[in-house]
Amino acid sequence: MITIVTLILATGVGVVVSLGFPDLVIMPLAAALAVIGLGLLVIAKRAHGLGLIIPGAMLAALLAGVTITMPPTMNDSMLYRVGPTQPANVRLYGEQETMDITTMEISEDERWQIELDHAELELIIPADQNIVVEASYDNSMLTLPKGIFSGSGHASTEQIVDEVRPTLVIEIFANESQLWVSAS
């Protein structure tokens, strides 16, 4: 009985939290997992709670996977918006940043360098301009539009919408860091 009530409660809390935080995928899952955890502590006096441990373990695995692949929600102080003419040779050490270059207009071929050292960067690129991201990474994790890369190596992503227009090449060197690239 406690198992069923806990599972219904976890689902309900997950739905309510998802309504409260519509943009956050992690929060409803975390809230549901916390309810299952509390249910297990209650049920521990009577039973082993296998009916809660199995769905809880599955939810925890899902939550861990989502936590890796989704960038954190940045507050305003972490946002780094690049203006129309601002160069972006950036070095981040031990920081979490979002770099939003969607408002930037690429007027000539350019090459930027971004160095990440124990840092996390969410890079939002404009979907309607030519942008190439070339990354060299060491003990890092990269989430690019074409896939997830982890460990050490090289990865790149090309977005060429019009070959006549100029292209921005962003070179990224990542050491023990995490990078998310998305087009908007």
Binding site: A30, K45, Q178
Partner: protein, 63 residues
């Protein structure tokens, strides 16, 4: 006779609550991914170790 609470249920329940809390902190950028895994990986080992101890002590009682 008073029944003892189930240790596996307490261990799993506590682990789920900690994982949920860590994920929440990660979502809001309080923890980095590296810190998240730095806490979660040892926690996972502790949970597995504790469960192993509980299960082996239960096995000893049955003999």
């Amino acid at each position: 006779m008073k029944r003892r609470p189930s240790l596996p249920a307490i261990i799993w329940g506590s682990a789920f609550i900690v994982i949920a809390a860590l994920s929440g902190l990660r979502q809001f950028g309080v923890l980095t991914t590296m810190t998240f895994w730095g806490v979660l990986a040892p926690l996972g080992l502790i949970v597995v170790g504790a469960l192993g101890l509980v299960l082996s002590s239960n096995g000893d009682k049955n003999h």
